[in-house]
Symmetry: none
Subunit: 405 residues, 2 copies
């Protein structure tokens, strides 16, 4: 029988600072499925001479972000890329939403995901999403609720999109172990929030008070005349990448969610424009100051989610076109991969393994001469869990000492 | 990082004694990196008709001794080959050094690694290695310190090489949980050894007394006028290979370190000459008396450590040349692999996966026709952790019963 555990302590024990540099280029949702017309995936369709050249000089393989068959959200997908067990470090929904709007969570803060919803005269939920009100309306309603202080606890109510918002509770003595008020179905009343352990009594009481006040404030704002809360959670304590890997890591990401994920593991988030060219320019401008760069490309995932095969192809080609701006910096290790597949055919994240390419002077190059799903099957890295990418990148950057004598 | 833990109890529960025989041929440091001139590794450069023939009849793959990216020392590398989790069974530095000089550690013994060092008039360390005194000088100084008895505890002080020695404490009531005296830097005084738990008070006191006496004895032997101790450890209790696998195992190894490792898992260590031909002759002479042989070739690793690509190639060819002396015995299972890679280009152990070849009448042969790093990528065994080699060898020798009904 085999148990699989992640041992960051082992890496921490052998990682050593060094001047070598690692660039982790994440082309979000990169992996795809073949077009029914051509039999080629998005990556196989794209004209990518620069990635293919890097694959020729480097070593390729396929990664499973969580494990075979599991479709990861962005959070577990990225935690795995950074070397953190995505099952052990399961980040709560409220925290994920707060990261998604770049809200700077403090260590004791409790965040919850909120929905504006519709209740009828009897208080029963008739629409869990309040008819998907506009983001503008959501913003306006959040302003009505924002800034409350309940028994010394400060509340932040921030719009996300349409009916979705985040509420953050900041104060002493709070705990995240409380139930949801969201009943997850229409036709019933919102649930009272209850403490799941004695330390969370105060949290439950304050959350219920907030909901009661919100109901009063929102009474005249039908269809958004009530709120539902779920996923109360606190920013987890993760060992930072500096602690584990002795790196000075920087993140280049145009989208808030990925900046939030980078902060969670202690990366310095760099100011950047969101376009591919701007992100690559940010890399070049800051290249001297860090020894690890997480460079995140969002467009591929968005195109996949939209089911837009051709747009995803074009964005991959844009990345390939920008690549010489990265390779000319001559990083000691370049890794190109993704946090999950997003096949345009499925219009969403999927469980399919993700192609990976690792280049370093010290890699034992394989016979793969093209960066694609079908070629990576024959790569020297084999098929492996995404959590092993960081140890591999560290090794190829000569940043890991020998284990044991 | 992911570690894979093999449950030895599972194997123990299904292993059965049988007359079939397994030979595990370890060509230390076998895996390499391509020559910058030819693009071929040491193994790919070597002319190895016999290994290639065995690869054709057998099944190939690549192993990770510990896990991807981790460069193993010889101890974890070999423990994994024998099927023992190299992270769980992390052997202390003192024990490793004692094994390296073939010192027969008894179960209660505490071993520490020692350095002769130089201290100045104020007692500060000026050279942690005493100018790397000769092995002869080290031997002479060890004789001055050897054989002390402190409060009923007997001390053995044995030279290793240059400034390095081993001290073994034998007596009742000792425990290894003490700090090092070695400050790991010059310019400071050696540290007093302190107990890290209450059971180790006596150990700390005796170690400090030994150091005090050594200082007096060595006063006139500048630059080796003091000692530094570290890595206090006790031989761990590992289940023996006979217990786990029901094997009668024998080790053939010319170098003390590997004999020590074999003893640690309960192998019978056979008397042998250290040359390749002598080791293969020892196999033939003892073939009737055991059902498992660990045959260890050291020269490949030494050549890799020396950065001598060509010598490593020649030694691989010597092994290939000797191989018919093994295959003609017709073992039921032959495994050829290594405890880690030692690319001549890196002049040291490395993290690169190691080619493996398994031959048995019952293997499902793949299409690999040559024993090399690049060909093994396409082997039927895939890429897998070294701890799974023993279950695979046992299975192919028909020594494992069905698991579950």
């Amino acid at each position: 029988m085999r148990l699989i555990i992640i041992n960051l302590d082992l890496i921490k024990g052998i990682s050593t600072p060094s001047p070598t540099k690692i660039v982790l280029l994440i082309i979000d949702g990169l992996g795809g499925l073949p077009s029914l017309k051509t039999g080629k995936t998005e990556l196989e369709t794209a004209n990518t001479p620069n990635l293919d050249q890097l694959a020729t000089k480097g070593i390729c393989g396929l990664i499973d972000p969580v494990s075979p068959g599991i479709t990861p959200g962005s959070t577990p997908g990225h935690l795995a890329l950074f070397g953190y067990d995505p099952v052990k470090f399961n980040i709560g929904r409220g925290v994920v939403e707060a990261m998604g709007i770049d809200f700077d969570l403090e260590p004791g803060d409790i965040a919850a995901r909120g929905n504006f919803c519709t209740v009828d005269g009897a208080g029963l939920v008739t629409d869990r999403r309040a008819g998907r009100i506009s983001t503008e309306k959501c913003t306006e309603l959040c302003q009505l609720l924002d800034g409350l202080a309940l028994e010394g606890v400060r509340l932040f109510v921030c719009p996300v999109r349409e009916h979705r918002f985040v509420v953050v509770f900041r104060g002493e003595g709070l705990a995240p172990e409380v139930s949801d008020s969201d009943p997850q179905q229409a036709g019933v009343a919102p649930r009272a929030i209850v403490a799941l352990n004695p330390h969370a009594d105060m949290m439950a009481a304050i959350a219920n008070k907030f909901i009661a006040q919100a109901k009063i404030v929102l009474a005249k704002h039908h269809p958004a005349n009530m709120v539902l809360l779920r996923g109360f959670s606190r920013r987890p304590h993760l060992p930072t990448m500096s602690e584990v890997y002795k790196l000075k890591p920087a993140a280049i990401a145009g989208y808030p969610m990925y900046r939030g994920l980078a902060k969670l593991v202690g990366m310095q988030v760099l100011e950047t424009g969101a376009s591919i060219m701007e992100e690559f320019a940010t890399l070049r401008q800051n290249y001297a100051d860090y020894d690890f760069f997480f460079l995140h490309i969002k467009g591929t995932d968005s195109a996949g989610e939209d089911g837009d095969f051709d747009r995803k192809v074009r964005i991959i080609e844009e990345v390939d076109n920008a690549l010489p701006g990265l390779t000319s910096l001559e990083p000691d290790v370049i890794v190109v991969t993704s946090d999950h597949s997003t096949p345009a055919l499925l219009k969403g994240h999927s469980w399919h393994p993700v192609p990976i390419l690792l280049y370093s002077k010290w890699c034992r190059a394989d016979r793969v001469g093209e960066f694609s799903e079908s070629a990576c099957i024959f790569g020297g890295l084999g098929r492996f869990p995404a959590t092993q990418i960081m140890p591999l990148a560290m090794a190829h950057a000569l940043k890991l000492a020998k284990f044991g004598a």
